[in-house]
Symmetry: C2
């Protein structure tokens, strides 16, 4: 072994290559300082105080007889031995590596870099980055609803209840929420399932929404945003190995939370494609063929639907939902209905139908049997309060024993954030008539290309979109997803920029 | 097959047993209504409109040739066929079933029932339930810190910035937090890792706490309470199957979040026992023997320490921590230091030493190598703000690729609750001198028995504790865990009651 070869293994500062090939180096063997023979090198002394690391992995080097773990040791800048980590990309949980989340992926990371570059004075063909990659209404300048924020301020600092500056209805709402909190403080843990009176309000809201279909507050679970509820439900569902591994059907395109959660749980992602030619509608024949194919290699147990769609923005017809429910009943699939955009329907002639309502209209053969979990959030709708991480899920026809397990599972995380629960209450128990409210719009456009297109668009215009590949799309088709939350003025500029870019792009690359 | 045998399978209302053995029943075959022959029963007609459920499971009955899935169908009260669920205790994720969480287990559930019974006028030998099962300071009447709540109210409803009722320092703090929020609103999503300026404040806090040991804000992740961070770290660590399955060393007694999370992740829980005879201290020899034993059947990769201890309340000496770090280095274990009670140390002569500080004092061989994640929370300390679900974790010496995976993983849940982030900022960037603050005390007592004892105590006195078995204890020893957050007056009553009960109990059962 030459000195330079040793130098690669043993960083220079701690290695003295002596005449005759003697090498002294620091490292290894805290408990048993000793000399080890490295082939071609006579001896090494390992002073114990500098060497916390014991013999371990012997398999990594071609050196025949050597200090175990030697190749794992590297010299850091300040001349100290550094060793391979316990937790590395090779030893970490492989399911986490499979997780992808396009909404905050490389395009968004580059956008943040560009923002930094702009702040540092780097010249760009634009002066600001416009983020249309995520449905974050307030970040785009939407103002919060006054009533909601008044109640939240009162809950945070109840001394304000003594002030005259707040309307009585806001005070009453705050008093009611505080009374339901342990010690009258939003700083106390709530019940793990959520504050009782909030769950009752959610149940009444659901009943109103669904024309009187009953809702039991015991079936309502408050969550840390809808994501939390969705992941919790998937966690209950997923089991088995190999061909009996749980499969979960998700739309393509989908919101990437689903693919990310399924990857993390090691479940089989079963894709069904939305029909772009028919405004991204769901085809039963596609569901059937997707399921038949999936059954060859896994055990499909659940069907996820995002309605109104994300990123596609389609609103399912009542007839379509009925078909999906019949399909789930026939094929024995647990239904998961992501309905967080239920209040974001604006197109003329379009109407939101909840899966639960349609389920009950199909009669007791369905309403007594089909298992359904439905999800909602404070982050979307007209309030767009993303930062509070409020949400709920309702479970219908869940097996009682499973529901007990669900209740146990959510208790491990103690409770969802209480301010988010309070906000959920305000959303479902909406402010007095006359209170201002804004409907925000959330819809995705189905247009042309992908990562390259989006990166180029970002670099040239500062507009940050998400490539369609992060949501899934048919081979050979390309999309991007943009949220259209910026204020009208900004939106006009944004759209003009996109238009111009798009024309140039298609000219250049077609 | 006799009619009664059929009756067991086919609920009575829908079954007409005709002379000669004809049975007509409803159920099955939505897509292909057809007659099926049941052995000993001539024929069945399945009207399609009443039967959404197709042939499926054939294996559950002794009937030789029969409608597939028949045994899964039951009659509900309103005369409709109900079918076995898709998601049952047998088909659900088995790892979830293994989760146990004593802090909110059967004792607490019974306590909630008893509270309801009291409200309904049921006579008990007590008039209220005192909950000493969970560290929920505000629920026990502790008042929130005014300064914190003023800032939170200002953040929730920034119009209050124009009022004269708030001190300038509170306003300045709120302005700073709001400026760091998208669109100046706590209703916007933050960066997934947490708001930049909050992470910077956390980093400076850690540096002050640790006497100048540097902290990089990029290594700080804001979390939804400490639980979130702990589960996320465990998620990164766990992999492998059988004998190479990841093992995680946890203290016994432990805080049940650990056992629950490990069960859910399917990791191997490797117990090491705290030494009750030495005030629940950690013995290195116990660590060594526990690890040696574990290596026979799994791959131990991480060592979790709760310091100050929960439920045991011990505070580790500097010497002990040094030993643990040397042990982790020698044995190549990833260290997880749960330090949420770091500000709850009150015994004379006791001092909190952070694992990070001791790690750095051991010199670069350790500080450049040993991987450590440390956790903190807004729920404990003097503020006890549990409901906001604020917290952070700091990772040290984490492999860069793994840290990129961590950043990706946390992005899937978008962000921790922003009000909790704001609160974390206030905690680490504490109020101006002169601001009121209270130190709450959180310590567990190590005394006598278990579930029976606790249930009896609850039934007779209304005091709700947690049996030691939920945290783990040596065979043949019994403990309970109580939090001592009630105000002094109530605490005196509580302790007097416990004393009286205990004397009676030991008299009766010894």
């Amino acid at each position: 072994m030459s000195a330079s070869r040793i130098g690669q293994i043993l960083p220079s500062r701690s290695v003295s290559v002596l005449k005759g090939g003697n090498v002294w180096f620091f490292g290894g063997g805290a408990q048993d300082p000793a000399g080890y023979l490295v082939s071609g090198v006579r001896s090494m002394l390992i002073p114990s105080q500098l060497s916390p690391f014991p013999p371990q992995n012997i398999a990594r080097s071609g050196v025949s007889e050597r200090r175990r773990g030697l190749a794992q040791e590297k010299m850091t800048e300040n001349g100290v031995f550094s060793r391979d980590k316990v937790l590395t990309i090779d030893t970490m949980n492989p399911t986490v590596k499979n997780v992808e989340y396009a909404v905050r992926g490389p395009i968004v990371q580059r956008a943040m870099q560009i923002e930094k570059e702009l702040r540092e004075g780097v010249k760009k063909p634009f002066t600001e980055v416009i983020k249309a990659n995520i449905g974050d209404a307030h970040a785009m300048g939407q103002q919060p609803i006054t009533f909601f924020r008044q109640v939240l301020a009162l809950c945070s600092y109840p001394e304000l209840l003594n002030e005259n500056m707040f309307p009585e209805d806001a005070k009453n709402r705050a008093r009611r929420i505080l009374q339901a909190c342990g010690g009258g403080s939003v700083g106390a843990y709530s019940a793990s399932q959520g504050i009782d009176c909030v769950r009752q309000d959610v149940a009444r809201y659901i009943e109103r929404r669904d024309g009187g279909v009953p809702c039991d507050p015991d079936n309502v679970y408050l969550t840390t945003g809808a994501s939390d509820g969705i992941v919790t439900m998937l966690k209950l569902l997923v089991c088995g190995e190999g061909a009996s591994r749980t499969g979960v059907m998700i739309s393509i395109p989908q919101y990437p939370l689903y693919s990310a959660a399924l990857a993390e749980l090691g479940a089989v992602q079963v894709n069904y494609y939305l029909n772009e030619e028919k405004c991204w509608s769901m085809d039963l024949s596609e569901l059937e063929s997707s399921l038949a194919e999936a059954r060859k290699h896994c055990n499909p147990k659940a069907l996820c639907i995002i309605n109104p769609g994300n990123p596609t923005g389609q609103v399912q017809s009542r007839q379509c939902i009925e078909g999906v429910i019949r399909f789930a009943a026939k094929e024995r699939l647990f239904l998961m209905a992501d309905e967080v955009y239920q209040d974001n329907v604006y197109a003329e002639g379009c109407q939101f139908h909840s899966f639960k309502k349609v389920l009950f209209e199909l009669g007791p053969e369905y309403s007594d049997n089909v298992e359904l979990a439905s999800f909602h959030s404070t982050s979307k709708c007209y309030m767009g309060e993303c930062g509070f991480r409020g949400g709920y899920m309702e479970v219908i026809n869940m097996d009682a024993e499973v529901q007990a397990q669900l209740s146990k599972l959510v208790s491990v995380r103690l409770c969802p954030p209480v301010p988010g629960q309070a906000l959920m209450d305000l959303v479902v128990n909406s402010p007095q008539p006359g209170e201002p409210s804004h409907i925000t719009f959330m819809k995705a456009l189905g247009q042309a290309p992908d990562m390259f297109y989006c990166m180029k668009l970002l670099e040239e215009t500062g507009i940050c979109l998400v490539p369609g590949s992060g949501f899934g799309q048919k081979d050979g088709t390309y999309h991007f997803r943009m949220t259209i939350l910026p204020p009208t003025d900004k939106l006009k500029i944004l759209l003009a920029k996109v238009k111009e870019f798009h024309q140039k792009f298609t000219q250049q690359y077609s």
